[in-house]
């Protein structure tokens, strides 16, 4: 449906939509249509952000969220890709783990919170653990199906040209052929990680989620919104940077 618009027009309409939404929000509050206790005035957000920055609170909570986010995402991605690819490449391993995977897969990451606390205590490792679980499954399925669907044709070419050893096939066929799917899984995992970050912090691990809980108990909705936007911005930044990497790695595609 967007074919009829030029790029500039699309940008214009997108900006108009966003500005219209903010204006409507601001005016509804100022005219008393919405009670000010439920949502903050959009125009106050920049100054609240500024205060959080001046206090150093913003940097502190973002730093700690980022630290268990990166550990969780890294761990979940590496394990997910390793197990997913192994399952697709090694029939015995695939069969051996199939039921276990089917049993564990439906358990939502947050259901692991009790064990996370028992195993790690209320500390960043627990949050990293929870985050890694969701990321693990996304990467596991993405890399499993990506490797699984590599046709036998490339494999035969590899064999015909003397690349029949497991490691050669892995690095010269399976990995590059499955790269689009694996990278897609990684990217989805980066997003999934942010979703669990906040939830994992709600039970007292320092970070963005904890700061939001604090603010909401004081009815400081403006601070809550500042951190909602912070998460959106962090997610967008990570996603954008990853997209650049992805595009570079897959430049052989159209």
């Amino acid at each position: 449906m967007t074919e009829g618009l030029t790029r500039a027009q699309r940008t214009l309409y997108s900006a108009l939509g966003l500005i219209g939404f903010l204006l409507f929000w601001e005016l509804s509050l100022r005219s008393g249509l919405l009670p000010g206790s439920l949502v903050p005035l959009p125009s106050t957000i920049p100054s609240v952000l500024w205060l959080e920055l001046l206090d150093g609170i913003w940097f502190e909570v973002v730093r700690s969220s980022l630290s268990h986010y990166s550990v969780g995402v890294l761990l979940g991605s590496i394990l997910g890709i390793t197990v997913g690819m192994s399952a697709a490449l090694l029939p015995r391993f695939n069969a051996a783990h199939a039921w276990l995977a089917r049993l564990l897969r439906p358990i939502p990451p947050l259901a692991w919170i009790p064990f996370a606390i028992i195993w790690f205590g209320i500390n960043p490792s627990a949050a990293a653990f929870i985050i890694s679980i969701g990321v693990f499954w996304i990467n596991y399925f993405a890399s499993y199906s990506a490797v699984h669907s590599v046709g036998p044709g490339y494999e035969e070419v590899a064999r015909a040209f003397g690349q029949q050893r497991f490691l050669a096939r892995l690095t010269k066929v399976s990995l590059p052929a499955a790269a689009p799917g694996i990278l897609g899984g990684l990217r989805a995992g980066l997003g999934q990680g942010w979703m669990t970050v906040v939830a994992a912090e709600l039970f007292g691990i320092p970070g963005i989620g904890q700061r939001m809980m604090e603010a909401s108990s004081l009815l400081a909705t403006d601070i809550v919104v500042v951190y909602m936007l912070t998460i959106a911005a962090l997610y967008a930044t990570f996603d954008f940077l990853f997209m650049l990497v992805q595009r570079r790695l897959l430049r052989w595609q159209s």
């Binding site: 044709g153 035969e156 040209f161 052929a177 052989w252």
Partner: protein, 255 residues
């Protein structure tokens, strides 16, 4: 020139080979002995099992019964055999040159030597200018020529070619046919060449093997093998050429 070849030991021998897939038998009783510098063409109707036979001769597919042997081994800088597949099957994630280098990896060649060894056959098929392109930016015929270069790069003792020129225009095809004739003179390579173009088979080969005789209940086999006793040069204009083409055609038509 094949006379010298006849005296040396075979580079490929297949005895009583039978092939099939899950329950169905498609080819039975195929014998083939190939000496250095020999050129055998395999012709037959679509679906008769030419590609399958080629894969079995190369050892990519285990025969149901019978034996296939390629006694030659890889040397530090050549491979015993290589194949031009019916579809180019280039790795889309590798640039053209890197695709041609595939078979050179694992041989004892430096990067620079690999590069040179890849550019050589690329120039032969007229694509050295496109060496740094991605395969998706090439036409079907260009991709097929990269597939040919990839197979030539390893300087095989036995070269399997599955309809290598089918996607090419007449002029390019003529040129590459001539290149194959020259290749036979220059090197020791023996060639097994699948084609459905009977003129091409008679033009290039020492022997033309006709596959056929497939019936719903019976696997196909070699219906006839023709020797081509014509000189390689100007073969197309030789008075014996057209009659032989007709004979082969008739042989396929009867089965």
């Amino acid at each position: 020139m094949t006379a010298s070849g006849m005296t040396s030991p075979p580079v490929l021998s297949a005895r009583n080979v039978s092939l099939g897939f899950a329950g169905t038998s498609i080819l039975a009783g195929v014998d083939l002995t190939l000496h250095p510098q020999e050129f055998v063409a395999i012709v037959g109707a679509s679906g008769v099992g030419k590609s399958t036979l080629l894969r079995a001769l190369a050892g990519l597919l285990a025969p149901r019964s019978g034996r296939v042997e390629i006694p030659a081994a890889n040397t530090p800088d050549t491979r015993a055999w290589s194949m031009v597949f019916q579809a180019p099957r280039l790795f889309p994630w590798r640039r053209v040159r890197s695709n041609v280098e595939l078979g050179l990896e694992g041989l004892t060649l430096t990067r620079a030597e690999r590069r040179r060894r890849a550019l050589e056959p690329l120039a032969l098929v007229g694509l050295d200018e496109l060496a740094e392109r991605w395969p998706r930016t090439l036409s079907g015929g260009q991709q097929q020529r990269v597939g040919i270069a990839r197979a030539l790069a390893v300087r095989p003792r036995v070269l399997f070619m599955d309809e290598p020129f089918s996607a090419l225009d007449a002029i390019t095809r003529r040129r590459l046919q001539q290149e194959l004739v020259d290749l036979r003179r220059r090197t020791e390579a023996a060639i097994v060449f699948v084609t459905h173009d009977i003129e091409e088979a008679v033009l290039l080969a020492d022997r033309v093997m006709v596959l056929g005789g497939q019936a719903p209940d019976r696997p196909a086999g070699v219906v006839q093998t023709f020797e081509v006793p014509l000189p390689l040069d100007e073969r197309r204009d030789h008075p014996g050429f057209a009659p032989l083409v007709q004979q082969v055609e008739a042989s396929i038509g009867n089965h």
